[in-house]
């Protein structure tokens, strides 16, 4: 809601020229989401402070169809911190109200715009879940002295600790445009919840503000040189991984490096979280998919159903295997299936041009393309805890990192549905090996690798469960390690191959 910019350059009131706003007048600028006000609490030759205050109108916030991007809280449209916190809305206002200053244009004092001046920027409520350390890691490499005080959550709720806001004061000497560009990029990155949907043009905005358009004569720009550029880019682009990858690649080029080095794809983080980071070579997720494919090939599977296919990382590799007559992906989440669809499909919209039909727009399941042949892969909304006739007729089934997402009491339902009813010849099950967890730094003792895991089994527990399932349903089972094997704890992932 508030930013104050203070300079002690002489004469300090030149700040008015740089900002294109007269120090003795209060000015208001209508935004689609409220009103931005600029006024000067102080303006002397020694010291001049400009304030940008944003009044957010919650009503117009609704009207302009902005999204505060917290779908887990339906009332977020009505109750949210946007009117008070220095959010991306604030950044938008900053870009509009101080647009010329941000670009470093100043007709009255062109040389002043390029001159480093002593500056103090104050923001009373900056959302930053990473805390003061994160703020320092972001601003200090850019030449700021950082004072970051956590804002207490609520004096009426003793024992609840601090909020995720910082009262932030930055002090440094640099051209005003550079200072503003730091805020323009880093405030939304710290916030991480952008109010509008990210599209391709966001990448350009980011790169322009980060000084990496290539037109500048100032070198690669501050963002390309920033040690946290990967994090900043991901957060700024709101974790839309495709854009992230494009942006990271372009950034890498600007810095004369290959794109591969930054292949820190957040999508890969989800499954194995912290564990993957320490590993060199193919990630655990890669190895897991590889092992599943190897087993399917060894078993000469002729058709495969991937139960709990998620966003389709295994399907993507299965469809390349043309010996498979039929491939089916099942997931309980339509959102995941849409991702899977986009991953494996090169474009199925009648209009062509690589566009996609909405898979579940009419939610009658997956339709065929008219030619009568089955889509490849077939994608079905389904749940392994409900018996489902559509699961039958596959030679092999894969449950890759699925069982640990089921409550233990639902495992019998899954067993009934997959082993008892669908009864594929081969069933491949992978699940974390809990014993291996101790090799993961930062994973507390007894904690699970993923927030949604209901359990993680030791090798003995997995073996006991698997042998019971095999016995009850007429299968044989063998076990294989996936990932680097440790002599005491075994491999990070365990795999059971059931055959009948």
């Amino acid at each position: 809601m508030l930013l104050t910019i203070t300079t002690t350059a002489t004469p300090a009131t030149d700040l008015g020229y740089l900002l294109h706003k007269h120090p003795d007048r209060a000015q208001s600028f209508e935004q689609s989401f409220g009103t931005a006000h600029v006024f000067y609490p102080e303006a002397t030759d020694e010291r001049c402070t400009a304030a940008l205050m944003l009044e957010v109108d919650p009503q117009s916030l609704l009207r302009s169809r902005t999204s505060v991007n917290t779908p887990d809280f339906a009332l977020a449209q009505y109750v949210n911190d946007r009117p008070f916190a220095t959010s991306s809305l604030f950044t938008v206002a900053l870009g509009r109200v101080f647009g010329s200053a941000l670009k470093g244009r100043c007709q009255a004092r062109p040389e002043l715009a390029r001159t480093p001046i002593p500056l103090t920027l104050s923001l009373p409520a900056v959302p930053c879940r990473g805390g003061a350390d994160r703020a320092r890691a972001l601003f200090e490499p850019l030449g700021w002295r950082v004072a970051a005080e956590p804002v207490p959550l609520d004096p009426g709720l003793p024992g609840w600790g601090d909020s995720h806001y910082l009262s932030l004061t930055l002090t440094g000497t640099m051209p005003l445009s550079e200072a503003l560009s730091h805020l323009y990029v880093l405030l939304p990155a710290m916030d991480g919840a952008k109010h509008y949907w990210v599209d391709e043009s966001e990448i350009d905005k980011l790169l322009r503000a980060g000084g990496a358009t290539g037109e500048d004569d100032d070198g690669p720009g501050w963002l390309a040189a920033h040690p946290e550029r990967g994090w900043i880019t991901r957060r700024y682009l709101n974790r839309r991984d495709r854009y992230v990858r494009t942006a990271l690649a372009r950034l890498a080029e600007a810095d004369d490096r290959t794109g591969d080095e930054e292949a820190d794809d957040p999508a890969v983080e989800d499954a194995a979280a912290a564990p993957d980071r320490e590993e060199r070579g193919p990630s655990l997720a890669e190895q897991r998919a590889g092992a599943v494919l190897a087993v399917l090939a060894a078993e000469r599977a002729t058709s495969v159903i991937d139960l709990g296919c998620g966003s389709g990382r295994l399907l993507e590799r299965l469809v390349r295997d043309h010996t498979l007559e039929r491939i089916t992906g099942v997931d309980v989440s339509t959102v995941s299936l849409e991702h899977a669809h986009r991953r494996v499909c090169r474009g199925c919209h009648p209009d062509g041009r690589g566009r996609h039909r909405d898979l579940f727009a009419d939610v009658t399941g997956v339709r065929e393309e008219g030619s009568g042949r089955l889509p490849r892969p077939e994608l079905l909304v389904g749940s392994v805890v409900y018996r489902d006739a559509r699961f039958a007729g596959h030679d092999a089934a894969v449950l890759m990192e699925v069982v640990e997402h089921l409550d233990p009491s639902r495992l019998t339902a899954m067993e009934e549905s997959v082993f008892g009813t669908a009864q594929p010849r081969v069933v491949v099950v992978t699940t974390p090996n809990a014993e291996y967890n101790r090799h993961y730094e930062g994973l507390p003792e007894g904690a699970f690798r993923h927030g949604d895991h209901r359990f993680e089994w030791t090798r003995a527990e997995f073996t006991a469960w698997s042998e019971g399932v095999a016995e009850r349903n007429g299968y044989g089972v063998r076990f294989l390690p996936v990932g680097p094997e440790h002599p005491e704890t075994g491999a990070p992932t365990q795999m059971g191959v059931f055959t009948r």
Partner: protein, 868 residues
Amino acid sequence: MSEIETAEPVEPRVLSVPRMGLVVLVGVSGSGKSTFAARHFLPTQVVSSDHCRGVVSDDPNDQAASADAFTLLHTIVDIRLRRGLLTVVDATNVQPRARAQLVRIAKDNDVLSTAIVLDVTESVAAARNRERPDRDFGDHVIRRQRRDLKSSLKRLSREGFRKVHVLRGPEEIEAATIELERAWPDRTDLTGPFDIIGDVHGCRAELEELLGDLGYALTRDDEGRPVGARHPEGRTAVFVGDLVDRGPDSPGVLRLVMGMVADGDALCVPGNHENKLVRVLRGRGARLTHGLAETMEQLGRESEEFRARVLEFCDGLVSHLVLDGGKLVVAHAGLKEEYHGRASGRVRSFALYGDTTGETDEYGLPVRLPWARDYRGRAAVVYGHVPTHKAEWLNNTICLDTGCVFGGRLTALRYPERELVDVAAHRTWYEPARPLAPRPPGEGNAADARPRHTLDITDVGVGGARTGMHVDTEHGAVRADGGSTLAALEVMSRFAVDPRWLLYLPPTMAPAPTATEPGLLEHPAEAFTAYRGSGIGQVVCEEKHMGSRAVAVLCRDEAAAERRFVPGELGTVYTRTGRPFFPDPALQAEVVDQLREAVGAAGLWDRLGTDWVALDGEMLPWSAKARSLIREQYASVGAAARAALPAAGAALAAAAGRGVDVGDLAATVERRAGQMEEFSRVYRRYSWDTDGAAGLRYAPFMVLASEGREYSDADHLWHMGVAERLAEVSGLVRSTRYLVVDTTDPDACASAAGWWRELVSAGGEGMVVKPLLGAGARARKGLAQPGLKVRGPDYLRIIYGPDYTEPERLAVLRERRSLGRKTGLAMREHKLGLEALARHARGEPLWRVHEAVFAVLALESEPVDPRL
């Protein structure tokens, strides 16, 4: 070649035709088939090839369209027969191939087919055709058809028709009448009440004892042998078959049952043992195994005349019976729904032997497919055949064979009471091939170890041709669309407690209509007006606790949990979307234990005559479940405001101090700060620290269900009384303040409004106004809204935003407050909630209860203004 030229006066023929079946008219063009069909059958029952030709070509005589026309005809016939409708095919059907296709369709649908041949001379047919200008084909066509017909006549009876009626000449055709005969299994006219008795297997003494326990009076012959039994209240016994073999006195059992059937005191379906006995008595070879040797030896001591009666009796038994208007089916080995009331070889085989894989298990017994597990029909299926440890309902089916002859029990089911009555075997008469006692899991064949309560994806409207649900409730059908069904599938699969616990999900509640009082969105007056307008005079106002909705299902002991819910547990507490309320199992167990103790101490087990109970209520404090929500979405907003507003105020003051005109910004900032304080006060009030169960409070406001009943017919004073009783005996339970109001009394309404003011100004969320008569209360038109919430103006700050009381904001909110959708949704969910409880109380199968519960979750995902 002789033809009947003229007709002498003929005796009118009466043609019997099965009510559920296929009638194939056979006759040349012009033989009068259409006239005949129109006279004896409904227009909808007749499918004519001419009509189908017309449908596919706009010309009923376009022979080129015949192929398509017959495809259509066969499709219609197939669909009608699948639906059990009498269907008459009006086509020449003179060629064997044409008839064979129709007979095949009938067989596929397990119904009988009848052929009616209309045989007229060529000259009659030709004359009739000439009268019809649209029939311009030559006489040679008729000649050819008649040739085909004549060669067909000899073989018709071997083509698979159950009956062939041949009518010769116009007069006989004219005079004939049709008599629709009931399908043999169709005894829907009998409504009982029935006492259905499991496999007797020659255990005469136990049968006498059981009939005595059921209240039947036995009659005996001169030798003292029972030859009949009659119930003083006119009940009918129904035997599920396998009267004979293995036991000590098969002839005695037969004598008694045959007597009861002859006297109209009993019905009987055949078992596989009767079937085999018939073969042996007819002198056909069969191995005398499985106790048949004993029966033959016993029958050998009887008279030839008795053996003949036995043969006649057993041979005449109909494969299965459909009783009580179609609500009850009795078959020896059970029967899947598609076969109910049908007649065919495979229906009989299923009814006698069940659905077997052809394989045998390690005891040499056939491996049976678990048809009952997949059964989704509305009719109760009562059967025997497979000895089981205990008779238990599964998906509305029950097996009554409790292995009396193997030393188990002889079991009867009272219908419609659904009570089980049994007597112990007097001794083990025959050693079982496989032990009767339930085996520990992991042993025996896979079919037995499978969970009995499997839910199918189609039970929740997914996986079929269309995604979406359609639930028939007592108060009308409720639909959920495909999108919300899929959303519910994800939530139910990933997060919900075991579906066996989920007997109910709380419906959403509508707020009272928009207040007329200025400055408010909700006020009690509108709730009273709404109920008064729908014809409800007495309402109860209940204090609305601000916590989290929690349904508690509590069992007195593990036996109750195993019987009705999940074995090995004692209860659960779940949220309004079916998730476990307490992610920590230890805390859940602690709360369940305390609540069970409270129920015990309050004497509720005995008072309600139950060993389990389900309560609906609110778990306090709000912060117990919503701590992170309060932190992230509410307290954080307060924190940001408290940091930003003073800084903004100071900056504005400084600017104003310099003489800069900052307008009324400073005043706005100050007002915002005040509103934020009000806002923060709301959520602080509903947050307090808890340590395990210490600090938690549960405020139940409704008893949902206990064994065999639900409580939508109990008034709210009763429910409040139960809650007060629980609160007296337990520190965990908190009672709810309430006030009964007569909506037609203005003074009472006014004082209730005052009571509400007090509640909300003391920090309460508000109140809920409910019809006094309870959840099942009726309004002028159908079911009444179960409640209307009236929330306090301060509480609404955390719903509409801290500054919603700004006059211009409030004006917009009042104007745009549209309740229709929310109110409709609340009613649809209410219907589903009542239905789920009713189904559970009736002991209906899990999938039936789950269907209604799942649909509530689906509706909850529908978009509706979350502030209402």
